[in-house]
Symmetry: C2
Subunit: 130 residues, 2 copies
Amino acid sequence: MQQTRKSRQREAILANLRARCDHPTAMELYLSVREEIPSLSLGTLYRNLKGLCDSHQIIRLSDGGEEHYDACTVPHWHIKCDHCGRFYDLPTPADVASVVPTPEYSGKIYGYSLIFFGTCEYCARAADEK
Amino acid sequence: MQQTRKSRQREAILANLRARCDHPTAMELYLSVREEIPSLSLGTLYRNLKGLCDSHQIIRLSDGGEEHYDACTVPHWHIKCDHCGRFYDLPTPADVASVVPTPEYSGKIYGYSLIFFGTCEYCARAADEK
DNA sequence: AACAATAACGATAATCGTTACTGTTATTAT
DNA sequence: ATAATAACAGTAACGATTATCGTTATTGTT
């Protein structure tokens, strides 16, 4: 069995991720949590991220390359910026469940990931200013 | 400049991917194309996959772990199976562009990736039979 | 409160998909 | 045919993630 006991490390990781508005990579999160727990091991971070994902306390965002993590588990959409590679939340319809219909399928579907591609507002603005 | 000349290798890779209905990983595609061109190098495969993606001739499907590739560039949705890890096409609304609205956003959005999660019909059937 | 069982840790090695490098081959324009 | 160089095969390097292992800390039980 895993993650049956509480640990200072896991609580710090989850608290850190919840406190921020970006969608950090494992390394970004690692460097940040290390400011509170300098002895934190990278293996511990990955192990806890995996457990937190498995227990649906956090969400993993994928688009090739590094994974990003999000502590907000309410269904919402993201944009992945081509320039800076970061993920940002998008204003998501309140009735999000009815906007994207679950397709007819003989298997089982329990959720989805919707990632828009483009240029984030910050990179777009920077490009305009050139 | 890249991919200005044609090559037997790239043509074989693209033809192979177009001829199949699954969404193979790089290694699955590699093993398959090697049956036609035994000398094919893995580096050549990756280099061409990258170029074909950049020129929008094929699509890359990501959900952590390995990348999968799809030669069908018409917008359509996928399901990623939790059990076997494979991607499958989903019946996608004909008016797909109007189903998912492009969110209000001050950056630029040019497309999206919609991946449903669940159990594919084959794995779901196998589980029922136990 | 001390003890025993073991989940979780820190440190580090291993894994593995992907990318980069290097000398050779093949395509394309002249 | 020739020259320029894109693309290749083979292989080394890279980097994010996972696994291993001996130690530490949490938790239920005396």
